[in-house]
Every structure is written in C-alpha cells, then in structure tokens.
Symmetry: C2
Subunit: 217 residues, 2 copies
C-alpha cells in the first residue's frame, strides 16, 4: 500500500525545502518507498477534515490504510522501523540513533524555531533588535556542543541514519541567518546530507509543487 | 542489569518533579524496572566526563552496560519498547502512541519552555511584561487543540501509554502560570496521571533527593 502524506499547497518558503514534508519525502527516498502527496491550503489545514488527521492543523500527515500519523519525527521513525536504510540493525546502535532523532527535534531545533518565530512575528516590536543576540546565543550554545561531538566524523553515530536526516533538515533552517557559517564542520555535514541522491530527489519533488513543473532527471 | 540514570544533585525546582529525570523515573515505575540514580552537580554536568555521556551537558542520561542514551523522550521510548506497560501491542496503536510522544515534546512543550525561559532569563528586561501575552497565547493555541482532541477521554489514544506520561509531565510545567486552570479537562487529565501509583513512587523518589529523606510508604 502506498502511503499518502500532506504538504502545503502554497509553499511559504518558495520551494527551499524548509517545510516539514521535506523530511518525510527524504526518508521515503532513502528507503525506496513510493508515496503520494495531497496538497492542502492554509485554510483547509485548520478545517475539521484535516484536523481529524492532525489535531493541531499542520502538515505533514501520514495515511496508510487505517493508520493515520502526524509529527514528522514520528512518521520518519515509523518509516525507518519498517524499511531498511534509516536505522542500524544492532539494537544498541539503533537506540543511540533514536536518541539523536530526539536530540535534533528537542534540543537543537527549538531555539532555531524561536529565532524564526521572532523574525516572523516580533520584527516590528521595539525589543526585536535587542533580543536577537539572546536568540542567537541560545542557538550557538547548541551548535558548540553539537560540533564538538560530531568532531571530524561524517555522521552523528556511525553510518548515515534517520538522526542525520533530521539533524540536517534542522540545521538547514539556519540558512540566511549567518550563524551556521561560523561552524565549518556543521556546514560540511549539511552539505553531505544535501549531496545524497535521496535528498536531491526529495528536494526536486517539493520544489515542483512550487514551480508547477515536474522534477526532471 | 539495572540501568543507571543521572539527576540533579541540587534540585532547581525544590523537589516539585519538574526536572526531566522525573519522566524517566515514572516510566521505570510503570514497567516495574529497578534503577539506580547518580546525582551530578551543575558543575559536573558541564565537565568532560559527563559530556561523554550527554554531549549537551544535561540530565538525564541512561547507562546500561555499554549502552549510553540521553534525551528523556528517547530513554522512555527505549524503556517502553523493552518492557510491557507503556505502549500498546497492536502495531498501529503503537505508532499512534509514539506520534503522541513526539507531539508532547515537539508541539506542546516548546512554547511552554519558551515561557519558562523568558521568566528565568528576561524578567528584568524592559519588554518582559509586554511579551508575556504573546508567550501565553502561543501556549493556549496548543492547549485549545489538545483539549479539543482529548475531549472527554481519559487518555490520548486508548489506554494510558508513554505518550500520556510525557504529556502529563509537559503540562505540569505550567504549574503556577494560571494557564492550565482555564482548561478543566486538561487539569483532570494531569490529575489522573499524578494519581497513578507509579507516578507517586517516582515523585517521592525525586523529592527524597531534595529533602534528604528516603521515601516512605
């Protein structure tokens, strides 16, 4: 059975792949799972039919027969547990990879989302400029520790896993802020993720929603 | 083998159970797994020996033989996958419960942590009072949706699971803000969690660190 996910009908990021369907598309591509996409408008997302799938009125959702999931982390873990390619077979290595999935979403992403939220919603407030260094510093505290742990390794814990997939998409959210550029090893890490054929296929597919053209190549 | 977790040597919340070791203790109690606790000071947490276990210098960590994990969500998922009592047996129900674990940590907790961060770190800033309604509203958007989905059910999706354990601990972080009181069904939900014998044993154990007295009863 081919699962169906939801994505934004109108890309708020102009196809730069920052919406959270990108993560799920990438996961499908890594494991070779075909998938369908249903596009939803911002209005539809908040209506009862979509809220029946996603109680918080967001994307992506995942539907496969009777099963309905939401939260990109949970969807990716589900895909990774059912297909080879995104989690190690060894039980301890698998538990460590899942730890890094939670790390990406709970320890590294929140201060990045806070900076985005301030840029979107508080940029006309008197305090905006003065708060920016506080937000910046909270991100750097995480990146300092993350880059120290990564060292000169290619991936977070052995081979590429769903943890790297999530961490790369989380770090990509810093594009345009100038922060990641102070961490060359993390820039190289993101570039390694973006160079993966599965990433490129997923990126082209989400971009095609914005351009209205089918991906080529 | 009895796993060892880490917890704060000096409780920053005076034993009210807001530190993230509480979640893990509760999970152990639900599944009947004995555990050891190693207390670490704020200074030790940032030193290399602890950072080897937790790259971000936080608690809790989980050690069991060669296996080292961190992130409370990942530790609880690990415990729940290895012992009966915290996740449904049915594969689809299990995937949904894991979705709600991610929801607690990624959708509901972040705006609550932001309010806490502002209360701790920006309460002497000129903008503090003016930003509070913004932070308050971001939490309420989540609680509106959460309470709508919960309806008059006891737990998020069928029987009590690790998702409820996490969600209850996340909602408990609102104690003292007056926000949760506007959601009677969520207050009752938290109270159901706190009434569980496993919760009470875990709470007593973390309180004993602060009081210096062994839990009784």
């Amino acid at each position: 059975m081919i699962p169906t996910i939801t994505a934004f009908e109108e890309s708020p990021d102009h196809g730069t792949g920052q919406a959270r369907d990108m993560r799920v598309r990438w996961a499908f591509e890594e494991v070779g799972q075909r998938y369908d996409v249903r596009l939803v408008s911002f209005k539809e997302m908040k209506e009862p039919a979509h809220r029946a799938l996603h109680p918080f009125g967001q994307i992506p959702t995942y539907e496969e027969g009777d099963l309905v999931l939401f939260e990109s982390g949970a969807i990716i873990l589900h895909v990774a547990q059912r297909h080879a390619g995104l989690l190690p077979d060894d039980a301890n290595a698998r538990a460590r990879a899942i730890t890094w999935m939670f790390t990406a979403l709970n320890t590294v992403e929140p201060p990045i989302v806070e900076l985005e939220a301030a840029m979107l919603m508080e940029n006309d407030r008197a305090w905006y400029q003065e708060r920016l260094p506080i937000l910046d510093e909270r991100i750097r505290v995480r990146l300092d520790d993350l880059s120290a742990r990564l060292g000169d390794a290619d991936w977070l814990d052995g081979a590429f896993s769903a943890a790297d997939l999530l961490m790369v998409t989380v770090l990509r959210r810093l594009e345009g802020t100038g922060i990641l550029e102070d961490y060359p090893s993390l820039c190289a890490y993101v570039a390694r993720g973006e160079a993966r054929p599965a990433y490129r296929r997923a990126f082209a597919a989400q971009l095609a929603v914005f351009t209205g053209r089918q991906p080529t190549g």
